[in-house]
Symmetry: C2
DNA sequence: TGCTACCGTGACAACGGTGTCAGGCGGCCC
DNA sequence: GGGCCGCCTGACACCGTTGTCACGGTAGCA
């Protein structure tokens, strides 16, 4: 093998409109017209230009174009998620991509890992690239960075968690109603000791779900039992541990409301380990693949993530195309999907 | 509600370097120097510039910058996947993002849906945006589009499926060895009638896996039984149907090798419906979440997707930074994870 | 025939920045 | 005191493209 370093590696400089114009024997502007499908170019010239484009392998430079163009659009949006690899967010991503595609836009997707510092960095990187708009799952309590972009003129749509100041559009789920329906469902099947397992209450969605849980309990004439409530669960292992702890109580719960995906899985592991999968009821918040392949199938409160992504993107492109309507706050309703685990009666 | 249309919605035009220069009382070039952290600006002026930047909310315009800059880099890469929402690809996406972040790059992720036409469109869109490089899961047999970009000077790294011409870098999995080990594993547990369920053989990965299956059978002194081989399975439902069909044979298989994610799930459904989950063995290709939560746990051949993504991104940034080494073809080894379903003995 | 009304086309400036280079200035050495 | 050096700084051209406008030419009309 011979190393080619030092060879004429200078690729012949990527062709520009000027080159195309020279080859086609027309002016720069005419090439621009053909490339942009502007009217008013004779067929003859158009053909010559197209041939020259082919010949040179010319690629239009959108950066230069949008620099000069009056609307200044880059055909690019930013999507700020917690983690692009998380199924919830990747589904959202896809839904947004589908809409973006229809609008000729490409999507910068990025993961904040719920870290405000990282969110700031990404916001900065996106702003430098002059995205036409932003869809964001805010990383922390403080939305200053996002709202700053909004004020500077970049449309922003909040997803999953609302902008509490209300100046920007948002698309969220009625977490409270979802949790409420889950707990009522368990009550309807006879449960009176229903445990709550969830994330930190500082997270808006977690808090809302907890409020829904409490609301349903009280509505059903039950009272809140502190030993059956566990917040601050961050991962599967912690959920599993918490569930095991509760199952060891003198009066263990006959049902669990697992307020989030990973929490549900941890809970299931605990039940499986204790051979209680068919004895103790579970309803989880957020669906997950294979939830219907387990034995019993897992009853969940499911969000329509595709709908959320689509709505958010449609709102965003509406703004990008100039809508000046008042801020919109779309709230979608989650639905309960009974699959078995939530229909187990107390023993 | 009063509509604000017609109001002075003209945001005060986003500030440019010129504006900053005017406010700071320096030349354009000095602002440029400060923004780019070039050496040789007195502290006094630097401070004035920074203040002006703050005051005006100035955001650097990377497009204009890279237009003029000599290296012409946009700090942007393209990631062409089959579907950003598919867990395999979204994990890959995340691994790439992590590396890109270290290099100050943002990632355009896009879904081809394995459609060559769509791939062409996306390639065009990415090229117009002057991405510094591309990581692609090729959509079809014909890699002309991707290779064209490569020739035009944009580094391209193939992932999951190799570029058979070998001119571009690639990162793939040894699918054949993985399938071989799965089938040998089943043989080692006493199986002699092992069924194959897989996707279209035109897909390189599917073909490789089939070859591995066949290889292992022959190596074990078994022969290929046509009625135990089913190609062209496109989704879960088809996999389920195929498995049910085979289970109804006079001499049904005692084990299944499911050559892909969705196929595995379909197979599991069939076994579950037939109450054979604990009787018939299964080994799947590709791991999936919750594979260990099922009863029995599902034995799989697992790829290290994070590793693949990382390697691909590292290769790409090597090229972007000028590496002129010969094309590299990294092949990773999948590992077999025994969890129960693959260790069931024939009855 | 003379005038206007278009039509296709190109010259030129401009978008927001960066590379190049020359000039001003202070300090140091002879 | 003159010359040289190095450090800052700004003027200017230019990156690849599009908006504007003026040009020459032809058709339509009175």
């Amino acid at each position: 093998m011979t190393t080619v370093s030092g060879g004429p590696r200078t690729s012949p400089r990527t062709a520009t409109m000027r080159d195309v114009a020279a080859v086609a024997g027309v002016s720069l502007k005419t090439v621009s017209r053909v490339v942009n499908r502007e009217a008013g170019v004779s067929e003859d010239l158009e053909e010559r230009v197209i041939d020259a484009v082919q010949l040179l392998g010319y690629r239009h430079n959108l950066a230069a174009s949008s620099l000069r163009r009056t609307d200044g659009k880059t055909g690019t949006i930013g999507l700020l998620l917690e983690d692009v690899a998380n199924p919830y967010f990747s589904t959202l991503h896809r839904a947004v991509e589908n809409v973006a595609r229809r609008h000729g836009s490409l999507t910068f997707a990025a993961s904040s890992d719920a870290d405000p510092q990282r969110e700031r960095e990404l916001l900065h990187a996106l702003a430098s690239r002059k995205v036409d708009g932003l869809i964001a799952v805010p990383a922390g309590q403080d939305h200053a960075g996002l709202l700053h972009e909004h004020r500077l003129g970049t449309p922003v749509v909040f997803v999953d968690r609302p902008d509490l100041s209300g100046v920007a559009d948002s698309v969220t789920v009625d977490n409270r109603a979802g949790a409420d329906s889950a707990v009522r469902h368990l009550q309807a099947h006879g449960h009176r000791r229903i445990a709550y397992l969830g994330d930190r209450r500082e997270i808006w969605t977690a808090d809302q779900r907890y409020l829904g849980y409490r609301e349903a309990l009280l509505a059903g004439g039950l009272s809140l039992v502190p030993e059956l409530v566990q917040h601050d669960i961050l991962n599967t292992a912690e959920a599993e541990a918490a569930a095991i702890r509760m199952l060891a109580l003198d009066q263990p719960p006959s049902a669990f409301f697992a307020a989030q995906n990973l929490v549900t899985i941890g809970t299931l592991r605990a039940l499986q380990a204790a051979q209680l999968s068919r004895t103790v009821a579970v309803v989880g918040f957020d669906d997950f693949t294979l939830a219907n392949l387990l034995e019993p199938g897992i009853t969940v409160v499911s969000q329509d993530v595709n709908l959320i992504g689509r709505k958010a993107a449609e709102l965003l492109f509406g703004r990008i195309e100039g809508s000046a309507a008042a801020p919109q706050h779309i709230v979608t309703r989650p639905t309960l999907i009974p699959r078995g685990s939530g229909e187990i009666a107390p023993s």
